[in-house]
Symmetry: D2
Subunit: 350 residues, 4 copies
Amino acid sequence: MQAFVMKQVGETGIEEKEQPDAGPMDAILKPTKGLVCTSDCHTVHGAIGEREDLTLGHEVVGTVEEVGSEVSDFEPGDRVVVGAITPDWNSEAAQDGHSSQSNGALGGWKFANVKDGTFQEYVHVNDADGNLAHIPEGVTDHEAVYTTDMMSTGFRAAENGSIPMGGTVAVFAQGPVGLMATKGARLQGAGEVIAVETVETRQELAREYGADHVVDFADGDAVEQIMDLTDGEGVDTAIEALGSDQTLQDCIKVAKPGGTVSNVGYHGGDEFRHIPREEWGVGMAEIDIVTDLCPGGRLRMRRMLQMLESGRVDPTKMTTHEFDFEDIETAFDMMDEKEDDIIKPLIHFE
Amino acid sequence: MQAFVMKQVGETGIEEKEQPDAGPMDAILKPTKGLVCTSDCHTVHGAIGEREDLTLGHEVVGTVEEVGSEVSDFEPGDRVVVGAITPDWNSEAAQDGHSSQSNGALGGWKFANVKDGTFQEYVHVNDADGNLAHIPEGVTDHEAVYTTDMMSTGFRAAENGSIPMGGTVAVFAQGPVGLMATKGARLQGAGEVIAVETVETRQELAREYGADHVVDFADGDAVEQIMDLTDGEGVDTAIEALGSDQTLQDCIKVAKPGGTVSNVGYHGGDEFRHIPREEWGVGMAEIDIVTDLCPGGRLRMRRMLQMLESGRVDPTKMTTHEFDFEDIETAFDMMDEKEDDIIKPLIHFE
Amino acid sequence: MQAFVMKQVGETGIEEKEQPDAGPMDAILKPTKGLVCTSDCHTVHGAIGEREDLTLGHEVVGTVEEVGSEVSDFEPGDRVVVGAITPDWNSEAAQDGHSSQSNGALGGWKFANVKDGTFQEYVHVNDADGNLAHIPEGVTDHEAVYTTDMMSTGFRAAENGSIPMGGTVAVFAQGPVGLMATKGARLQGAGEVIAVETVETRQELAREYGADHVVDFADGDAVEQIMDLTDGEGVDTAIEALGSDQTLQDCIKVAKPGGTVSNVGYHGGDEFRHIPREEWGVGMAEIDIVTDLCPGGRLRMRRMLQMLESGRVDPTKMTTHEFDFEDIETAFDMMDEKEDDIIKPLIHFE
Amino acid sequence: MQAFVMKQVGETGIEEKEQPDAGPMDAILKPTKGLVCTSDCHTVHGAIGEREDLTLGHEVVGTVEEVGSEVSDFEPGDRVVVGAITPDWNSEAAQDGHSSQSNGALGGWKFANVKDGTFQEYVHVNDADGNLAHIPEGVTDHEAVYTTDMMSTGFRAAENGSIPMGGTVAVFAQGPVGLMATKGARLQGAGEVIAVETVETRQELAREYGADHVVDFADGDAVEQIMDLTDGEGVDTAIEALGSDQTLQDCIKVAKPGGTVSNVGYHGGDEFRHIPREEWGVGMAEIDIVTDLCPGGRLRMRRMLQMLESGRVDPTKMTTHEFDFEDIETAFDMMDEKEDDIIKPLIHFE
């Protein structure tokens, strides 16, 4: 079968691979639609270290091709979504409420990290009963593929932020995760949502997804603008959806005493992130810094699909480009360079 | 000044009263708009015992007439809202996070309970800095008066219900509190909201406020209908917004194992409420029954007002009738009898 | 192999059974020590309906005899404990934080409910990696067997009760679960623990496990005594560890506004449990009624074992009687009748 | 009256001051016992900026001398404790559950910060009903004075740390706050408590207060030692009780994925604190960093006093030295230099 792989750091291409087998608890999935994620680009640039001929991709929906002997709730032909994160549900971390950390930090993240990802003709899914979810009839594959990561991660940024009903929220960066965090803040009862972004098309989408204000850091310091908008009070919740030292610092600076900084950004690069000591209230202002990795699993996916079925959100507005699987390298390169105001490129497998 | 009072159990009327004085922390408020609440009717029927010439009403907005010597953030002429519940913020219950229970069960409920209510020309407000909130310019008095109880209580029913993002919620009864609970469920991320109601105008409003399904118990057992809608699973959260034994039981019956029953209904009448033992999982199915009294206070009011300012909800759709203060007794009687599909009657003081 | 079974409602005996087989994820355990639980008695009396030749028992430790092909962390000869509750960790309920409710209400409870229990020579354990835990060297089998249910359930009653540091707790009934709830309240920071019990030996143990006061309902109404002890305030947390309507009502009556009733009692019998409406604050006093079923799983067991290893508690004080496996019927009958002030009878399998 | 003041940065001395007056909600307290806190030393060294003739001290108990007209629960002669933090209970931050942040970051901290502290013959207490607590008969002044800050802060470090029952906790630094955090971890159900400290007398006290292990960083890297003790897993909760960049980093390094870093250390000095990016799981390992300022208020004090009344802890073991008020400068200087293995010096006012 064909697979879009990272040959080594800095090099990608399509290769021929052997079709995977399903263990007793597993399933083999045949993808129909997929999305390219910026973290695939980070991986190729070496963010998680060297990999050899590793298939990329972790956002996909498709049909079940084969199931293992112990799988009870899925069968070949079922139309399903699989989360980007596929936890080991009996691990101690999962038992502790941290399934994405199963068997080690970020251990639930298997696709395109510790095993081949989803950009191949047949995809291995561990623990099918725990990690697949049926797609309801009224939901398209295009919509459903957004549940795997963008909705699950972006919404979690909001869920994790202890947003009070009627509270104020600032969301730093309006890439696809940030946009879903903006929407998520609305779905968690925020009374005022401030989106920080400089790209115009993303600003527009931020407004469509529910931002009451857009702060453009090209117009001046984002922190100052947010403090002005909140009459100097700061926000109840600041969401970091980019992964940069600067925005994390800004989050801490705009959080009011007793507020929450909710990080979902992937932080690459330098040895340290910096906490501005004074704005952090010298460690006593009850500004908590919380973090999360995209939640996966059947229940999470089902709940995200329910949001689509009920029309709570239309994530397909973020699909700016579409490609056939054979052209995936072009999609990947555009995503890497953020060309042509790309937000998310959809991949058609058939 | 004139006051609309409960003369004794079963008897109401307009009486002349002395204008109240403000202590050092207090304020005197001159009402502009008010709403009649069904709980005023319960009070007149004796629900909280005998009262003599007690002014009724607890939902009101107005302008500050006078403030005490220690009040720092309000002054005569300010346009303000006061919550239906006006806690003693330095009480132990408030320090414990239960401000509505300050100085005894339901102790934050003072208006038309332990002191004169808001249906009089001048209203005494304890702890003005803690219990008043300025009404933003873009918010009308008519809108603002809904924050005092209907929004604060109905939204809290949802906030207290541990609704998962994308989860299912059933809201029993679509009176004004139930309608705001339906809206609240949407604002807390519910993926599927099932409203239970039989009155057609209320069913329509329920849909406007975000119900995905309306279950009419005139069409058959509500529990069965809800179990059908959820493929036999039950709901994550069941909200009791009526105060009857039957609906509380129904809530327990439709909650899934691990689900939550969130009660905001005022339960009058018999000695007991009944927990159906088996559906409660013989006390081990992790179905929690949680309760709340309308939260009050400046911060709560400010956050509710923010929801209006940002256009998150239009509560004025619930205003079915309007009356001048001199006709308040008619409003009260209609509310008592639920005549003419009344939902909320607005009172104009000027 | 030999098994102590419930032949039908009302009848027990030792029978010969076929040795169980392990599926790919499972293990076979050879018990060394076990404990008889009052819920086994309830089962024989028909509490969960008719059963035929079902092996009883759910509290056991032993050595691993055999493991399935997919089990990675355990091997034959390992000294292990298995929780009374053995969840399906990839079920939606477990993913939702309610593992004991996996695949239906109380669905994690498999032993002596939906499959043979632990009072037989070889015991089948589903999901060995998820449900077994190694016993540390310094912990005896006798100590370890208490983690399976008594410690896990009793401690959870306290954990679930939102006990404030320095708060007041009442624990109704000092059977083995109640005694561990008393100890659990101390381990959760209670400042004042009031144990309710009338049997003298249990009163003594309650004091040893940390009760500051013992209320004997033979001396008068327990509610009145507790209200006196708390200067009329009531308690922050009331724990129901018996499963009777009366004690549940008493818990609600002694809980202060804003307090929590934490139920772990198994409620058999009548159709309803009764909530005293007025003491419940007419549904608005923020008295929550929460419930739980014994948590199981490897992590829970490991943490309970850690408490033994560190000497936090000595549960063996509750062992009032000891029997060889061949005399288990005597143990069972004494437990059923609560003869000779029995608290827990220990069963030696070898 | 006499007052021990900070004349300016770097200079202290005893001065004559006017006796304070009580406003309508306030009280005047005549101290009996006090404790010197290291943060007084930081203040004198300029940590919170310049001050002129500001009375130092915030840990004190005494008798009520005078109360304002609106105070209802206290009267002259009452034996009371006042928390180091005296919130404005009707402020928005307090209404939001962050009373220590009332009216701005750290705004509940008034003594020796924004008004005269407690090292003077008469002390002004704002909101007497909200901020004083009666000392029970069985509790000595010496014991009670520890509730004001050391117990309230140290215990909160543990309460804020989401310690699972049976979980592992590391407490960095065993000064008086760290020692109470060690005790607090035990009182919150920790199964294994690891104290980090190099001073021998503090190591001994750590063991007395419940540390299972003591890690001496003079013996090698603390992080490595803790990882060894936990078989490479790390801890559920890491408590920072010192306020240094290094220990905060170490806390993050020893926290397991899904674990919590609970900071109560006051962080002075440089512009930044540093988060080690990789050990923080690149912002996705669900390691939360939470912070708190000592909780104050009548309820908190009452609950701390309850812990003393019930004999849960003996904080007086930390009193290594005693001084009369006239010798307070010596006490202060010894505390500043940590001479003679001083932990806490007790001040006798009479």
